[in-house]
Amino acid sequence: MEKLKLVGICTSARGRLSNTYRLLKLAFDALSDDEHEKEIIVASELRLRPCEHHYSLNAKMCIHPCLITVNDPRDEMRVIYDGILRADVVIFSTPVYWGNHSQLAQLIIERLNSLENMNSVHHQVLVKNKVGAFMILGHEDGYQHVAGSLMNFFTQMGLIFPPQAYGAWVGESDENTAHDRDRLEHNENIREIFVDAARNAADFARALRCPCGRGFDYAHLSKKKNYALPKPNPNI
């Protein structure tokens, strides 16, 4: 059987030094190479311009590829667009900062609006038959709020979610996340949370791929913007 393609997107500003990356890698390493093609995109290593919200001038200006991607050869958001579009499973990982996902995660979400918009405004379903999951790591609390925020966007973008679609862990009220490294890497109970999140998403994707031996193919045309789009504002 063809390998499942998993892409993980690490959105910690500390990149490969972060616990967020370490957990994502640890979870990916636990999945067999025979059945899975695995790729981790470290967002902090990419040059990513913030969304310029052309959408807010006119939703029809927001297209895929994004106008920034088209105009600026130095912008590397294409790595993330292409990673998602070729994946069967997308695992988005973020630290919790002040109760929210990282600023890098938010930047990426806003840039990914172009994929969501291709369906809801332009009626082209680019993201389909792809399973999503999240890995959320932080201190004190906030992971349920982050999971809700991420789920809100990524379901609209078109990902499909298995039951229990995220793994999360928050440490005690201690700002020094270096203290967590040993626990995260060696505490079997904590490790299992994240390995299970990746395995659950992969198993779900595999189940969708093979109902009764047939390929899964489901596209939902979004009605989210199923109202008259606003007329252009000549005063802008």
């Binding site: 029809k60 297209i63 802008i236």
Partner: protein
């Protein structure tokens, strides 16, 4: 996506001259209405905010995207 017709009725409604990308170079060359007339011959700064989507011609021709001074509608 249909290219707007390069006719006075469309050119007169064109908002390119009030676009942040529009420069003296465009004015000197009497360039505008890029979605219908074709690309600019000037250096256009794509880091500035394109306003194609605010133009009535954009709506009338059901255009998508923007920066038509840099990207021609085929």
């Amino acid at each position: 996506m249909k290219k707007p017709e390069n006719v006075p009725a469309n050119r007169d409604r064109c908002r390119c001259p009030v676009c942040p990308l529009f420069t003296g170079c465009n004015r000197d060359r009497s360039e505008k209405f890029f979605c219908g007339a074709g690309l600019s011959e000037c250096d256009m700064d794509s880091s500035k905010m394109c306003i194609c989507g605010t133009c009535p011609v954009f709506a009338d021709y059901d255009l998508a995207g923007g920066y038509f001074c840099l990207h021609e509608i085929e």
